[in-house]
């Protein structure tokens, strides 16, 4: 391979998993259709042929069963990598996440580890209605004992997957469907693509990434909302407004100081989040800043999120409720007025 390759998140993640699987027998893949289809984002594309059905296990449609089995296998020394396709499906296996994978290490006083990586696709924007378009990252980030990461570009996708696969904990690895760069979601968004080194590398959890530096307003986002924020920042630049775009990258652990650092500089905060507004990440980010120093704000902080309604199917309704670039830019202009 030549260097300076530009990859999608999907291809970058696949490289990390392939590299680790080649070297570590304890890693195996499980999920519906993974043997033939390679997972929702192709993270296991071609692995069936390469690693065989013992290590790339297609399961029945039984999420409670196979994710619970993964937890047991992890307790017995393996590191399962599970493809759960859409996060909307956590309802049928939530007990495993809530009560076993996330709590066994704690309840055993550290005697039993549950190293497993759960790959999940999130988000909407492609007219798939209320049961296949949710983000729900706050719902999983609320559980103590589960790490929750959410890369938004190819470089981070590869590095954070290496980190997840070497972590001894239960890691929920989220990817917004629109950012992955897969065939069924159109042309990849340019800002999700990165130059990706051939070899392995780790991107640590719990550090925000400043995607774009600015001085007037901080726009915090994660997953797809990072890219909408970048689009908004381009538009704002034409109006003479300098926006700083901060990617959270990781919800658990959360880099509260990194957010504070940016807001201290700009004095204005917009939190963009495709998850529902109430009781979620947007409130958590604002609270983190307020707890540190409420006087940092020149204007009250603003949330640009999906409202507290199920995701509608029809395009005009869905596009109106998602936290897309025009809404973010409008919010910034109001903050600067």
């Amino acid at each position: 391979m030549s260097s300076n390759r530009i990859l999608t998140m999907s291809r970058a993640g696949r490289e990390a998993l392939d590299w680790e699987m080649e070297r570590r027998d304890e890693i195996f893949c499980m999920g519906e259709d993974v043997f033939k289809f390679g997972g929702i984002f192709g993270t296991m594309d071609g692995f069936g042929a390469k690693y065989g059905p013992e290590r790339v296990i297609s399961t029945p449609i039984s999420e409670t069963g196979f994710i619970g089995m993964a937890a047991g296998a992890a307790m017995a020394g393996m590191h399962p990598v599970i493809d759960l396709a859409y996060i909307d499906f956590i309802g049928v296996c939530y007990n495993v996440l809530l009560n076993t994978a996330s709590k066994t290490h704690y309840m055993s006083g550290g005697a039993v580890k549950v190293p497993m990586t759960l790959l999940i696709g999130t988000g909407g924007g492609y007219n798939n209605a209320a049961q296949h378009s949710q983000c729900l990252h706050a719902t999983v980030a609320h559980i103590p004992g589960a790490k929750v990461v959410y890369p938004s570009n190819a470089y981070d996708a590869k590095g954070m997957l290496h980190t997840a696969l070497r972590d001894e904990n239960f890691v929920i690895f989220l990817t917004h469907k629109g950012t992955a760069g897969v065939g069924w979601m159109g042309t990849p968004i340019k800002t999700t693509l990165s130059e990706v080194p051939d070899g392995p590398y780790e991107v640590p959890f719990g550090k925000v990434k400043v995607y774009r530096e600015g001085t007037d307003v901080t726009i915090v986002g994660l997953g797809m909302s990072v890219h909408e924020s970048l689009k908004a920042a381009d538009a704002l630049a034409k109006d003479g407004i300098s926006a700083e775009v901060v990617d959270l990258r990781s919800l658990v652990p959360l880099d509260r100081d990194g957010i504070m650092e940016s807001v201290s500089k700009t004095g204005r905060l917009i939190v963009t989040d495709e998850d529902y507004m109430s009781y979620g990440v947007s409130g958590e980010i604002i609270a983190s800043v307020v707890e540190r120093d409420p006087t940092v704000f020149k204007k009250p902080p603003v949330r640009v999120t999906t409202p507290d309604i199920p995701i509608p199917f029809a395009r005009p309704m869905e596009q109106a409720i998602l936290p897309l670039a025009p809404r973010i830019a409008d919010a910034a202009r109001k903050l600067m007025a």
Binding site: R5, I6, G183, W184, T187
Partner: protein, 73 residues
């Protein structure tokens, strides 16, 4: 050039969705250089030679079999 055997049906068109190298990058023969989407299927375009990639067709433009999409100098 889009190889004639990249996809089966001659009457179907495709589109490049992604160049895996920037314009002007050095590539080696056999490197995966582009993803081509035909209907819902993603296909892979390999570099036929070693050299400097000069991209002639941007993503989202319709391409046919036999079209020249880049030159390797």
């Amino acid at each position: 050039m889009i190889p004639a055997d990249l996809w089966d049906e001659d009457d179907k068109t495709g589109s490049i969705v992604l160049w895996l190298y920037a314009d002007g990058a050095k590539v080696k023969q056999g490197d995966l250089i582009a993803e081509v989407l035909v209907e819902k299927v993603t296909l892979e375009l390999e570099a036929p030679a070693t050299g400097t990639l000069r991209i002639q067709v941007e993503p989202e433009v319709v391409v046919n079999k036999g079209d020249t999409v880049a030159v390797i100098e």
